[in-house]
């Protein structure tokens, strides 16, 4: 009781030096907090602010780490070359926790507190879809690097664009002809039993049938599964190819158990590297993957015939010959996807320069400038390769790599054409109002 009274007397009776310092510290912290900073109107010399919605924590953290490194490198290159319309590019990062609710909050924070010119960078589909309504309501451009079909589906809004990475529908269609010609026509699909897996099932099935092949079995794996052996007997004996797109922490167990089940005499394997991004291919238990094939957006391992601009890109983002960090050989990159950040930032620059972007009033003009884009040549701005942008569905199309595991490394054995992945647009964002 007396202690309580003493503290009350201190609170009411006078200002001690300690409490004054505490108060000043708290006030300084409050003023420094982003929410209470007043930003002035954008002036021509002020930086162009890009809000980078980053998966720093949560299930996408490995991707987020590399997306951040590539973004930093791409921004440095743009700034070294004079910025955008003569203005420096400033990247402001907020962690979305790989969570759709937080993603939407972060978009609001970028628009209303940081006063950025646009938001960019998101990978995981659920964060994109969760954040898209906020971007549309706030009328702020939202350039995503996600590879989901969500943007191309026309279900987002005019402010959502995916110009730097291809979508899953195009990827699944791209690889079907090569699989049918080289691995076999009878395919069993093994996929996680939720939207990501269902997209592969629904997009790959008609694509392989168009090549004269067929899906002989579909093996959905429940998302909570940790052991997979009991699913393998569902794979028909006449299967030529197993198409697998498992993701998440259990993927190593999946591959190991598949190896134990089939031994050396099983069907051919074709997988999406999404399963093993940021994972060392030569990890114990992955020996069974030797000789199997993977889709890669951009090769993880340096290829002997790679152009100079690819070498320059790899140096700039800090990856070695094996696709790991130049500073830590165990820190394997997400090379198949992260190039999208580099290319998207260059498209943002090109769009802003095309519409002579001055400030937020030009946001709609910027989107129109991106929509007007068509061909993008391979080069320093587009190291992954040539692209074709469809302004109606806000989605880019490009070439894909099919790589084989040889001596524990991925070697590109085929590069698909843009036409392999092309499909009829199902929407037209340009007909929507801003």
């Amino acid at each position: 009781m007396s202690e309580n009274r003493k503290s009350l007397i201190n609170l009411n009776g006078g200002l001690t030096r300690r409490s004054a310092l505490k108060g000043l510290g708290a006030a300084a912290g409050l003023v420094a907090a982003p929410g209470f900073v007043r930003y002035g109107q954008a002036q021509s010399s002020e930086p162009i602010k890009v809000g980078f919605q980053c998966h720093r924590t949560g299930i996408g953290a490995a991707y987020g780490r590399w997306y951040e490194r590539v973004t930093t490198a791409a921004a440095k290159r743009i700034n070294d070359a004079g910025g955008i319309n003569g203005r420096p590019l400033e990247i402001i990062i907020e962690d979305d926790g790989t969570d759709p609710k937080r993603g939407a909050e972060v978009v609001e924070k970028f628009a209303n507190q940081h006063k950025v010119d646009l938001v960019y960078g998101t990978l995981f589909s659920h964060v994109v879809v969760g954040s898209a309504p906020a971007a549309g309501e706030l009328k702020i451009p939202y350039y995503v690097v996600s590879e989901g079909y969500h943007v191309a589906s026309g279900k987002m809004n005019r402010y959502c664009v995916q110009p730097g990475i291809t979508d899953v529908k195009a990827q699944a269609r791209s690889v079907a002809p090569w699989i049918a010609d080289n691995l076999g026509k009878k395919v069993t699909l093994v996929y996680p039993d939720y939207a990501f897996g269902h997209d592969h099932r629904d997009f790959f099935t008609p694509a392989i049938e168009a090549q004269g092949g067929q899906v002989v079995a579909k093996v959905p794996i429940p998302p909570t599964e940790t052991s997979f052996t009991r699913y393998f007997p569902q794979i028909p004996r006449d299967t030529d190819v197993i198409y697998h797109v498992m993701v998440g922490p259990a993927v190593l167990t999946f591959v190991k158990e598949m190896g134990e089940f089939f031994g050396s005499g099983g069907p051919q394997l074709f997988g999406f590297i999404d399963s093993l991004e940021a994972v060392d291919i030569s990890s114990p238990g992955l020996e069974f993957l030797e000789g199997s094939h993977f889709w890669e957006g951009m090769p993880r391992y340096a290829q002997p015939d790679q152009p100079d601009y690819v070498t320059a890109y790899r140096e700039a983002v800090g990856i070695d010959q094996n696709g790991a960090s130049a500073n830590d050989a165990k820190d394997v990159s997400t090379a198949a996807h992260m190039f999208g950040c580099w290319e998207t930032l260059n498209i943002i620059k090109a769009s802003m320069e095309a519409c002579d972007y001055k400030g937020p009033d030009d946001r709609a003009a910027m989107i129109e400038a991106t929509e007007a884009m068509t061909e993008m040549e391979a080069g320093p701005d587009h190291p992954q390769g040539k692209k074709l942008f469809n302004g109606k569905i806000h989605q880019v199309f490009g070439e894909q790599n099919i790589s084989q595991v040889k001596k524990g490394k991925l070697e590109v054995v085929h590069r698909t054409s843009i036409e392999d992945g092309a499909y009829e647009p199902e929407a037209d964002y340009t007909a929507m109002s801003f």
Binding site: E94, D95, P100, V129, Y194, A195
Partner: protein, 321 residues
């Protein structure tokens, strides 16, 4: 001069809080107004949880399913059946009540840890169903409710729920209604009986109360409020996804209630608001913000062992409901 009775003070405080929140709509900077709108909706979720956990002593780990039932009840009817907001919101409430009734009826046959596990399992089944029926729900990716569908019709006109001020006022209205309902409930004989059940279930049974029915009603009301929050989230923020049915969203209302103060009417609001700003502020300064959040939570437990409002009530304002 007559002294105000605790009852009058309590009602005056709650009216004052709602009026202060109304004033904030006009005073807060844009970003913080958006934050408060979201927090008010989620505080309703926490208030629903508080009714079951704080007042009735039912430690559930499955309340995400009630929130998600409201979310999907409203979201799917708008997206697939093109219902307008009012009936869709009603569908969300109905979904929450039905799920709470069924789950409550089965789960209340257990108590304590078993109740926790059973509610967790039911919620997991609900979550997996939202993933399994991807054709309708788009699973973890979720659905965007088009902006033009999020319009609230009135005899005199239409309210655009994507407008920041409208959204804030609608969120505040829902919050005020649920706050008033909870305040009324916990001061009514029924609310007293729930607290008595929490304190000594056997004694209540001996006194002739039907404990099972009382607890079932508490779960259903709790489910109704949580579903109202979920349905409001769908129509106000335009996104419906499986993430809201995951275990994380069963733990969050528990955390908000514990931080704010269990069995305190204003505890859920304070807890939700506090946790939002701790995460939001810490993540602006450091990538290790989860560590900061952990340290802050330890501090709260040390200095506010009964939650912020709970400790204030214990030490200074015993009349707080």
């Amino acid at each position: 001069m007559t002294r105000l009775t605790p009852s009058t003070k309590s009602v005056a405080l709650h009216i004052g809080v709602v009026l202060a929140l109304l004033a904030l709509n006009f005073l807060l900077p844009e970003y913080h107004r958006g934050v408060f709108a979201r927090v008010l909706v989620l505080a309703v979720f926490a208030m629903g949880y508080n009714l079951a956990f704080g007042y009735t002593g039912l430690l559930s780990l499955g309340h995400a399913m009630f929130f998600a039932a409201g979310l999907y009840g409203a979201g799917l009817t708008i997206y697939h059946l093109e219902w307008s907001v009012w009936p869709a919101f009603g569908a969300g409430l109905a979904a929450g009540v039905v799920v709470a009734l069924v789950v409550g009826f089965l789960a209340l046959r257990t108590t304590g840890v078993a109740f926790m596990i059973v509610t967790l399992m039911f919620a997991q089944v609900f979550y997996l169903m939202t993933l399994y029926f991807t054709t309708y729900t788009r699973g973890e990716e979720g659905l965007v409710l088009p902006q033009e569908t999020r319009v609230l019709g009135f005899p005199g006109g239409m309210l655009d729920l994507s407008d920041p001020s409208t959204r804030y006022l609608v969120a505040l209205s829902l919050f005020a209604i649920v706050l008033a309902a909870i305040l009324f409930l916990v001061r009514a004989p029924y609310g007293r009986s729930l607290i008595a059940i929490r304190e000594n279930e056997e004694r209540m049974r001996m006194l002739g109360y039907n404990v099972f029915v009382n607890k079932l009603m508490a779960v259903v009301l709790s489910g109704l409020f949580c579903a109202a929050s979920g349905a409001a989230y769908a129509v106000l923020f335009g996104y419906v996804g499986s993430g809201f049915a995951a275990i994380q969203y069963s733990i969050l209302p528990l955390l908000w209630v514990l931080v704010g103060g269990a069995a305190a009417t204003l505890g859920p609001l304070i807890g939700t608001l506090f946790m939002f700003y701790v995460i939001d502020t810490a993540s602006s300064y450091t990538t290790a913000h989860l560590m900061v959040v952990g340290l802050v939570l330890i501090g709260v437990i040390l200095f506010f062992p009964k939650g912020i409002i709970g400790t204030v009530r214990e030490r200074w304002l015993p009349w707080l409901p």
